[in-house]
Symmetry: C2
Subunit: 276 residues, 2 copies
Amino acid sequence: MHFADRLTDRIASTSPVCVGLDPQLGKFPAEISKDAEGMLAFCKGIIDAVKDTASCVKLQLAFYELLGWEGMKTFWEVCDYAKSKGLVVIADGKRNDIGSTCEAYADAYLSAGKPVDALTVTPFLGSDGITPFIDRCAKNEKGIFILVKTSNPSSGELQDLPIGDETLSEHLAQMVDGWGREHIGKTSELSFVGAVVGAPYPEDLKYLRTLMPQAPLLIPGYGAQGGTAADVLHGFLPGRKAAVVNASRSIIHASSGPDWREAAAGAVKTMANELA
Amino acid sequence: MHFADRLTDRIASTSPVCVGLDPQLGKFPAEISKDAEGMLAFCKGIIDAVKDTASCVKLQLAFYELLGWEGMKTFWEVCDYAKSKGLVVIADGKRNDIGSTCEAYADAYLSAGKPVDALTVTPFLGSDGITPFIDRCAKNEKGIFILVKTSNPSSGELQDLPIGDETLSEHLAQMVDGWGREHIGKTSELSFVGAVVGAPYPEDLKYLRTLMPQAPLLIPGYGAQGGTAADVLHGFLPGRKAAVVNASRSIIHASSGPDWREAAAGAVKTMANELA
């Protein structure tokens, strides 16, 4: 099934909540070992706690790479586990390269049978750094989310620069729309080429959504980074469609006590209610 | 020793050649197995062949990630081996993220004792995505190369966009100069904040060098991608200083016959002579 159709069905049957699996060893509950094995146990516990409420999990590759190859082994095991529980799995790698290197990234994460549904991609290199991903998505029913406007305070240093009478982000949004236009799902009428637009910039989100009417949006920056339910509202299409909202720390590290699973389950339900 | 001092000494005692360890299984010699173990054997063979001529090796992370955690194990083993042979080791990951995630990438690759000297970084997220790397470089005597103008045909789609009367790349070059200014080595008078500027755009290289007079440059796109010795000349400071020129396929896959080591050794010497 086309990625956007799969994502849309999953949101409809759960919620637009995406849980960021960005596990920080220093914040683990006492019972969990502070290593790659502990990271696996921790992520499995969180997945069990959120799987009936969240539509997606998003794994920040950096936290797995930090533990070397053992961490990468955990990364793939966590993806497998999340997939087996019905979650849509997003690898947040912000990968970017060209030619055969870009193809290698695309094959590494978006091959048929791999337990990753979508990858985040940074567009700095232009279409040479995008089309190899699109090829694999088309072939293997996967998706990408291209960074358009990120959630961090300094995102404007480049992304808000004026290109004629538009910003770099607005210019990029139109490129994303163009890249995605030929790759629309049957039931969702959305593309498998999505975009990342941060919650802390609601006015940008509102306008960028109009420039990308068929792109699924991945909206980070909710909760700990300051984005509210009112802020992210503009990212959805009618019927609470076509967007997922990511929160990480506020869910997975909601408690570091013995009640960490229950705290995560509670936090994800609260967030789903806020977005409803 | 400060990264730029170390790099400068190494270039002076060898050459400005950086060998791209972007191993493609399909191009391996018949005697090498097409898996992570074979990749390690292949890279070790190439390192032995080039270690007395090249200053640096640059590992494209994508090709190691493509083989899953076993590939990442190989990545670290190759870095260890290259380091033990005196080469400067560059991890070409084009990583980019913010906050604690950016710190995780920085710690993953630029921690004290890790066999990586420098990492490539994509600047799309602004200074939030750069300063955590700079912090680690300052603490652990490492370096970064920030993408400013890449070597691919579509690099201009974003990087040549006009910001007032300059291009995005020119704007970025000034940011790189600013980020690096306080981090200058004693003997080299260069910063540990370097930049990536592609060989196929010699006029850009010439002008961008003037905007970043203290940045070590990593120049890809030599050989297979079309850049010549005359093209890359503009990237150096007087005395053939402050730049390394990367070639990959033309060296590591110079032959897939039984003479692959000798062919690589020959290709790297030819390139060093061209640049001399």
